[in-house]
């Protein structure tokens, strides 16, 4: 299992370290990020940037969002001591940040509540979103129902059949679900279709991106709304163990749960930040979703970042048993954290993730999402390496109810 966290080698370019907060005013994290979008979207991105700056300066916005997070989403989420798992792994004390306990079953609700409140502040009435497994789509449909906004969710045709139950959930919540039949019919094509919708409807519509990706200001905006995970974790660990954790581990697709829990620790050099990319059938097979380990810098969906691409710069289709990690890119701030060496990214393949999922279920009574299971698999190796005096936090980003069908097939349970 230690091999699961062999870090992806990355150059450390000290000269490229920028001064001041990230991103810069044009949305850059070093050489990553930016805005690579059609001119038609610039006005909307500027409007969103301005609306967000105004909201941040308005105590009323923080109070409204904080109120919803506490009384609707169920925050703060618990920090659970995983005693049996710790004993089984035989290394560091393992603590779990329980985003699986948030409303709708994952951390996704943190971001959509923030963005949907912004939508209302901008005077827009319609929200569009992309979704892979359906978690972000369900969260967006939920927030739109709560706030009385029209909701359209784009989902790759492949995913609508693989995740039929989540399609029904979104429709129950009043959202329209559009099956995208173009390109590879997966998450990346759902994003393309959402962007096409947005160009044509931007006067009335907000595009609620579900991860720390896309053109500026989205990577910053989504990070800031997910930052609550790390803020709570930091305070909870300090209170529980009287010091900072030695490592924080999270799974990374686009990377919003990881960015959310990493960010408040970036200034704590003693805290190792470890991201687990999805290795699919294994890096060597080429069938994976590990943008940092198996990709190269390029431009996709409005940002410069690491992505899976061929020699001509055509995006390659990713593969993972976890639909939520099945994306050929990664948020630009992760690309930056990798390049500067502040965070370390390893690869966990389907098998290691599924083994971790079953182990956590049996030892802790927690059925985690397959996405989160990647973080657990990586954390086991980290915990062993660091030893019993250390503390490792795993971001349990979502619950696994949606994955029972996949797990039943994988383990031949029915």
């Amino acid at each position: 299992m230690t091999s699961a966290v062999t870090p992806t080698a990355g150059p450390t370019d000290a000269d490229a370290v920028p001064v001041g907060p990230l991103p810069d005013s044009a949305g850059h994290f070093g050489r990553f990020g930016g805005r690579f979008v059609p001119e038609a979207l610039f006005a909307a991105l500027d409007q969103l940037t301005d609306a967000y700056a105004a909201a941040r300066a308005d105590p009323g916005f923080a109070a409204e969002l904080g109120g919803l997070l506490a009384t609707y989403a169920g925050r703060p989420t618990a920090l659970t001591d995983a005693a049996r798992l710790t004993a089984h792994v035989g290394g560091a004390r393992i603590l779990l940040k329980r985003e699986d306990l948030a409303h709708t079953g994952s951390h996704k609700i943190n971001n959509v509540l923030g963005q949907c409140l912004l939508t209302r502040r901008m005077g827009k009435t319609r929200v569009i979103a992309e979704t892979g497994a359906g978690q972000h789509g369900v969260a967006t449909a939920t927030a739109c129902a709560l706030l009385g906004l029209e909701c359209v969710v784009y989902m790759g045709e492949e995913d609508t059949s693989r995740q039929a139950l989540n399609v029904a959930r979104m429709r129950l919540l009043g959202a329209e679900v559009v099956a995208v039949a173009s390109g590879s019919r997966t998450l990346k094509d759902a994003i393309n279709e959402a962007m096409r919708d947005w160009v044509a409807t931007v006067d009335t519509t907000h595009y609620c991106i579900g991860s720390v990706m896309g053109p500026h200001p989205f990577p910053m905006l989504v990070r800031d709304f997910q930052r609550i995970i790390g803020v709570e974790t930091r305070a909870q660990v300090l209170e529980r163990v009287g010091g900072l954790p030695d490592a924080v581990v999270a799974c990374v697709g686009g990377g919003s749960n990881a960015m959310g829990i990493f960010h408040p620790f970036i200034g704590d050099p003693s805290v190792r930040l470890i991201g687990a990319e999805a290795g699919g059938d294994g890096l060597a097979t080429g069938r994976h979703a590990a943008a940092i380990a198996g990709g190269a810098p390029g431009v996709l969906h409005g940002m410069r970042t690491f992505l899976l691409q061929d020699a001509d710069g055509q995006t390659q289709v990713s593969h993972s048993i976890s639909a939520g990690l099945d994306y050929p890119g990664i948020g630009p701030e992760h690309a930056w954290l990798h390049e500067t060496g502040r965070a370390t990214y390893g690869v966990v393949d389907d098998r290691a993730a599924m083994d971790a999922l079953r182990l956590v279920a049996r030892l802790e009574g927690i059925l985690v999402a397959i996405e989160s299971a990647h973080a657990f698999a990586a954390a086991f190796g980290v915990a062993r390496d660091l030893g019993p005096d250390a503390v490792v936090v795993v971001n349990c980003s979502g619950r696994g109810d949606k994955d029972v069908d996949t797990a039943a097939k994988w383990f031949d349970l029915l």
Binding site: A26, G34, R35, F36, V37, P38, E39, A40, L41, F42, A43, A44, S182, G183, S184, K188, D189, N192, M195, R196, V199, A200, V202, D203, A296, G298, V299, L300, H301, G302, Q309, A311, D312, G313, Q314, T315
Partner: protein, 304 residues
């Protein structure tokens, strides 16, 4: 199929509008600028025709692009098929996807440019940014110039991110063409105008490529606003597909860009089982109407 040197010998007589193989010379008037100047002298708008390279095949696309030239297109826009074309509607997506499935490469696109440029009409690449970045901006500019290309339209590369591309094209004579949209502020129009050469691509409406029943009402206003900040010609695209629409746009812009209507003709030809020559006949018919359109209504807004 991939060798276009044989094709070139089939090109026939070069178009008198330009000498074959003529290159943009740094410092001189670019081939795009010349095309716009000539059309203006004729009292008409430039007709820009778009087709993706590699559809229905690399050679078939060259045949189709030559048909555009023969039927009166002034500038050929050679599309570089891309896996994630967020600015394109279903028609261009369908042809681009098919071209990629059939294995078209960036090198094929450059060979296509070379074959089109050999007709004497300016050949302009339309490409999303990542394929250029992957190729290397400097290498792409060098090879595009060597192929006789006139420049490139880069719809997802805003001026803010265009530094490497502007540097790469600076000494090649290639024209970097940037876009404006109805939502562009005056400050952004000025920013785009400051870096765009050859012409400025004005998106007629807020949306993706594809035929529309009517030209966006915002198009004329956008062309007027662009002209207020620059002398660079403005060409209008998105949703322009009929002779009536080209005539209408020619009344307020220096150029008219047509894409989906031409791609639709190729898709229909393939669906009907037509061979490339039959498809070319169909295309020539479509272009003849559009070319008449740009001549029917001379620019009614005189240039200062």
């Amino acid at each position: 199929m991939r060798s276009l040197s044989d094709e070139r010998s089939l090109a026939g007589e070069p178009d008198e509008r330009n000498e074959p193989g003529e290159r943009n010379e740094p410092g001189g008037q670019s081939r795009l600028s010349q095309a716009f100047a000539r059309a203006r002298a004729d009292g008409r708008a430039v007709l820009v025709g778009y087709l993706p390279a590699g559809f229905p095949s690399v050679a078939g696309a060259v045949t189709a692009m030559r048909a555009l030239v023969e039927a009166g297109v002034d500038v050929v826009e050679v599309g570089l098929p891309y896996s994630d074309p967020t600015m394109d509607g279903p028609v261009i997506q369908a042809a681009s996807d098919a071209a990629l499935r059939r294995g078209v490469t960036t090198a094929d696109v450059l060979r296509t440019v070379e074959a089109v440029a050999a007709t004497g009409v300016p050949a302009l690449v339309m490409t999303y940014w990542n394929p250029v970045e992957r190729y290397g901006a400097a290498a792409f500019a060098r090879d595009l110039a060597a192929a006789g290309g006139a420049g490139a339209i880069t719809p997802d590369l805003p001026p803010e991110e265009a530094g490497p591309w502007l540097a790469a094209t600076a000494d090649t004579g290639l024209d970097p063409v940037f876009l404006v949209a109805p939502s562009s502020t005056d400050a952004r129009l000025a920013r785009v105008a400051a870096v765009s050469r050859g012409f400025i691509y004005a998106a007629s409406l807020m949306g993706v490529t594809g035929a529309r029943e009517r030209v966006g009402a915002q198009a004329a206003e956008l062309a007027r606003r662009v002209r207020a900040v620059t002398d660079t010609p403005v060409a209008v695209g998105l949703g322009v597909s009929t002779p009536e629409q080209t005539a209408e746009v020619a009344g307020f812009a220096d150029g008219v860009i047509v894409g989906s209507a031409l791609v639709r003709a190729l898709l229909d030809a393939e669906r009907a089982g037509a061979d490339p020559e039959e498809a070319a006949v169909a295309l020539r018919g479509v272009v003849a109407g559009l070319a008449a359109g740009v001549r029917r209504s001379g620019p009614s807004v005189p240039r200062g």
